[in-house]
């Protein structure tokens, strides 16, 4: 088995697999956005956008652009059949009130307690928070999609976050290019691992203790059209 890291698309595919039919999901910017690509097919999923869209479709083709139909990143998108428009207060009532089955977000750090830091890099010129804290506070299930380590090779999964927190004890599962890790009351549990990697190698790149039950299943990368 060739030892390798998952591509962003493969991380997105893994997350898409856990989304069941009828779920209402919010997909953040970056890898999370890619998840939408793997939701098509027999499963119907309601994709929510913070600005009041339920039933958001793919990005708009040049001849479909309507500047009033945009996603959370302000890019023109489409609406699917069955889409509904709601105001911003109702949109965040949906988010905070537990009506969102799943939120998928990127992160700078996740702690072994499920704390997440994803809104502010210390020293950033202008801070911005958007809807990140609401999504973390309110989604029934919060999963993170990110690279296992930062550009300097440092672990992004840590004992305690050092970046400013977005929310405490909210992350359920972390999907990285090396592993799928569940956050339990007693810490991190390795669920699946990237092809060719060992638990020992993963521990070296993880900043908090990892519960491991050998043999660790390898992340299955078949069964979905990974482009």
């Amino acid at each position: 088995m060739e030892k390798r890291r998952l591509t962003k698309e493969e991380i997105a595919l893994c997350i898409a697999r856990e989304i069941s039919e009828g779920a209402c999901v919010n997909l953040g910017i970056g890898i999370p956005t890619l998840v939408a690509r793997y939701l098509a097919g027999e499963r119907e999923v309601m994709v929510h956008s913070e600005n009041g869209i339920i039933g958001m479709g793919p990005p708009a083709a040049p001849d479909e652009v309507d500047l009033d139909i945009v996603d959370a990143g302000k890019r023109p998108v489409t609406l699917v059949k069955g889409a509904a428009i709601i105001d911003h207060a109702t949109s965040f009532a949906l988010v905070r009130g537990g009506h969102l089955d799943l939120a998928v977000l990127g992160a700078l750090q996740v702690s072994e307690h499920g704390d997440i830091a994803n809104w502010r890099i210390p020293g950033d010129a202008v801070p911005g928070v958007g809807g990140a804290m609401d999504l973390c506070a309110g989604a029934k299930r919060l999963v993170v999609a990110m690279t296992h380590t930062d550009r300097g090779g440092e672990p992004k999964i840590v004992a305690e976050c050092t970046y400013p927190l977005t929310a405490r004890r909210k992350v359920c599962t972390i999907y990285t290019d090396l592993a799928v890790i569940d956050v339990g009351p007693d810490g991190l549990h390795l669920r699946e691992i990237a092809p060719g990697w060992t638990a020992g190698e993963l521990r070296q790149l993880t900043g908090a203790p990892l519960h491991v039950e050998e043999p660790v299943p390898v992340i299955a990368l078949h069964g979905g059209a990974v482009s």
């Binding site: 039919e21 009828g22 209402c24 027999e42 119907e44 309601m46 929510h48 339920i54 039933g55 609406l79 059949k81 069955g82 889409a83 509904a84 428009i85 709601i86 207060a89 965040f92 009532a93 949906l94 988010v95 905070r96 009130g97 537990g98 009506h99 969102l100 506070a137 309110g138």
Partner: protein
């Protein structure tokens, strides 16, 4: 394929457990989910806490449920009218509990539950017997009462048109409490006049979007005879 349409009101309420808190839409008979209430009577659940603006009329729907001793507690704004005889009889006999809530506070408490808020301060009812024992504070010179969210295990609502995702519209003042209650329950069941194909409702005119609705069933408007 998402399909929230169920075949009948009986199917829709089949799993309601005794002891549940049930939000019931409508203002008087306008927008009342009368067929779902009739189904609930047949279904048999008891020891219920019912939340509704009123207490039903004569001997059908909510009133019939109360008359049959199935309601432990009523949370409402306006139970005192002639046709609310079922409630009155049991209340005077000490057989039903009443939590009287100002109408605006009642709907706002359900909105808070639906919106994931822990409570809110309102001037309504301050310095009256309805806020006795509640936390109050003066905010911007006005005495305000802290009110808590009110969540249902079930909400029974009435709409006009729905699709299989549960997107809903309402006809005129049938709307009232229904869209708010839809947000505020673990399981929301809607009875509607008509189911239309997905995409047939303009996204701009949907009042309650699919994620707030769990089951939909078609029922003609219930007219007591």
């Amino acid at each position: 394929m998402i399909n929230k349409v169920v075949e009948s009101a009986m199917t829709a309420v089949a799993d309601v457990r005794s002891g549940s808190t049930i939000l019931v839409g409508g203002f008087g008979e306008a927008g009342s989910p009368a067929t779902l209430l009739q189904a609930l009577i047949e279904q048999g659940a008891t020891d219920l806490t019912m939340v509704s603006n009123n207490v039903g009329y004569d001997d059908y729907g909510l009133a019939a449920l109360i008359a049959r001793g199935r309601v432990r507690k009523m949370i409402c704004a306006f139970p005192n009218y002639a046709a609310g005889i079922a409630f009155r009889n049991r209340y005077l006999a000490g057989q039903i509990e009443l939590e009287l809530v100002p109408q605006g506070t009642l709907v706002e408490r359900m909105r808070a539950a639906g919106a994931g808020l822990g409570g809110f301060f309102t001037p309504t009812g301050a310095e009256t017997e309805l806020s006795a024992g509640k936390e109050t504070r003066v905010i911007d010179g006005v005495v305000q009462v802290l009110e808590r969210p009110l969540k249902g295990d079930y909400a029974l609502i009435r709409g006009k048109v729905a699709d299989r995702w549960g997107n809903l519209t309402y006809w005129r003042a049938q709307r009232n409490f229904n869209p708010i209650m839809a947000m505020a329950a673990t399981t929301t069941i809607a009875e509607v006049s008509e189911i239309v194909p997905l995409g047939a409702i303009d996204p701009d005119v949907i009042i309650t979007p699919g994620p707030f609705i769990h089951r939909v069933t078609v029922c003609p408007r219930y007219n007591p005879t």
